[in-house]
């Protein structure tokens, strides 16, 4: 019976340090080799029988070996899983395969609405441009929060900015993808991420200009023109990929509303409006809709404000 099974009697072994991990590994490897030589089914059944047959010491040895065995296997599995997780970065590699000229072209294209909506428009499934635009938006938002002295109570400035921008990009993309699935639109998740990401280019431009030059009317003009153009582009691309009037209406209405409202939110929530109070305090010298910085430590915004005022007076 002994020759046919893969049982190793611990009592007969010279090295009895069954607790050593490396020894377990070696024994495990040797066991595997022996199993490959003989039938595998026999080994499993043979182990338990022989364990009982060999008495208490043998049984404990077998148990110890099996436990250490399992630990070895679990450890190996975890290590290989961790390695494959690292290798997962390579899954994202094709989405970053772009040239600078392509990125520049796509940035400019994101502001130009397409005319052909009867033919499905091509969307590049690329993640470099959108990712960089989200980070740029975070930087611009930080700048706006700093100059307007926004006070964040539960959390940090940086955390809020990152959370807002990434939350919008990922959350609204997922929601629109879900809606597109319901409305039978032909668009993949990566394409949706890419489309929405490039749509943030309009937001970046608008916020960059209006966080520095504080005129309400200027913001509204930018909101309508720049925001509107990028929304029109996204809407046109989506329309070209959807069939049916109701579905088109649902998809495009939702996207347009969310996109424009986000720009509105970014301008007003992160940019303290100090209007009525200071008007009454400072008297009628202040023109209406004039943003006045209160307690702003940075002199730059005051400088820019006076410049803008001087420009407005001369125009």
């Amino acid at each position: 019976q002994g020759g046919g099974s893969a049982v190793i009697d611990m009592e007969n072994m010279d090295d009895t340090s069954g607790s050593s991990f490396e020894d377990m590994g070696e024994m495990h490897q040797r066991m595997k080799e022996e199993e490959e030589d003989e039938a595998e089914g026999e080994a499993g059944a043979g182990e338990e029988e022989d364990g009982e047959f060999l008495g208490m010491k043998g049984l404990r040895g077998q148990l110890g070996r099996q436990v250490a065995d399992q630990m070895w296997q679990v450890g190996k599995r975890q290590a290989s899983r961790a390695f494959s997780l690292y290798a997962n970065i390579d899954i994202l590699r094709p989405y970053f395969d772009v040239e600078p000229v392509q990125v520049r072209a796509r940035l400019l294209e994101s502001m130009i609405p397409v005319k052909m909506i009867n033919f499905p428009q091509k969307i590049a499934g690329e993640l470099y441009g959108p990712l960089m635009l989200v980070f740029t938006l975070v930087a611009i938002l930080l700048h706006g929060m700093k100059t307007s002295d926004t006070i964040i109570r539960e959390g940090t400035l940086m955390g809020t900015a990152i959370g807002t921008c990434f939350g919008y990009w990922l959350g609204v993309s997922s929601f629109m993808y879900f809606l597109a699935y319901l409305c039978n639109a032909q668009i993949t998740m990566v394409q949706m991420l890419s489309l929405l990401g490039y749509g943030l280019f309009g937001h970046c431009i608008t916020l960059f200009v209006t966080y520095n030059i504080h005129f309400h009317s200027l913001f509204y003009i930018f909101w309508l023109v720049v925001g509107g153009l990028s929304t029109l582009r996204m809407v046109a691309v989506l329309v070209s990929r959807t069939v049916g009037h109701t579905q088109r209406l649902i998809l495009c209405g939702t996207l347009a509303a969310l996109h424009m409202l986000f720009l509105l939110y970014l301008h007003f929530a992160y940019h303290k409006v100090v209007e009525g109070i200071l008007d009454t305090l400072e008297g009628p010298n202040m023109p209406p809709f004039q943003r006045v910085a209160r307690d702003i430590p940075v002199v730059s915004s005051a400088v820019l404000n006076t410049t803008a005022k001087a420009m407005a007076l001369t125009l």
């Binding site: 019976q1 002994g2 020759g3 049982v7 190793i8 009697d9 007969n12 072994m13 010279d14 090295d15 070696e26 040797r30 970065i89 994202l92 590699r93 970053f96 395969d97 772009v98 040239e99 600078p100 990125v103 470099y128 990712l131 960089m132 980070f135 740029t136 930087a139 930080l142 700048h143 700093k146 100059t147 002295d149 926004t150 006070i151 964040i152 109570r153 940090t156 400035l157 940086m158 955390g159 307690d295 430590p297 940075v298 002199v299 730059s300 400088v303």
Partner: protein
Amino acid sequence: FPGLADVSVSQDIPVEGEITVPVGSNSPDDDYSTLDEPVKDTIMRDLKAVGKKFVHVMYPRKSSTLLRDWDLWGPLVLCVSLALMLQGGSADSKDDGGPQFAEVFVIIWFGAVVITLNSKLLGGTISFFQSLCVLGYCVMPLTVAMLVCRLVLLAGAGTVSFIIRLIVVGAMFAWSTLASTAFLADSQPPNRKALVVYPIFLFYFVISWMILTFTPQ
């Protein structure tokens, strides 16, 4: 059990396997001797390595020393000193308007990790920690700028001081970006350098902005 008698470790089965040697030590003798040396020697050796890297950042040349022997001591020291100097910059003492220590720390390290991942995804040949090392060491000009800003702010907080601070921070920002680009852009395919430089530019821009908008209590 006659069949079991020949299963034993010592004679029949040769011991085989792999002995993995830790990468750092060249020979057992080396390891032995650096373990016995006085602590001062170890510290001085590490300090010299860190100091050499600082010099490389000051005069960015295309040398591979920074890349080959990476270490994260310098970035840690710079990050901690920058975060400490940026403390207490709130306009209102009740609420925290200025960046917290943890915020600056997280910005620097999270930003460095993102840039590294980005450069790897774009086909870079540099390793993860080498890139972290370079980006961390290139924060040094901005730390110097922070020091200068604090000194200038001791004198006053008017328009002149702002212009001085703007010039200093702007120059140091350009220096940081150029220094890190000199080391990192070489590991990219030639036509994609701009794609790697832009996140580095953004990263140092955010740090410079935090330095510039800092005003002490």
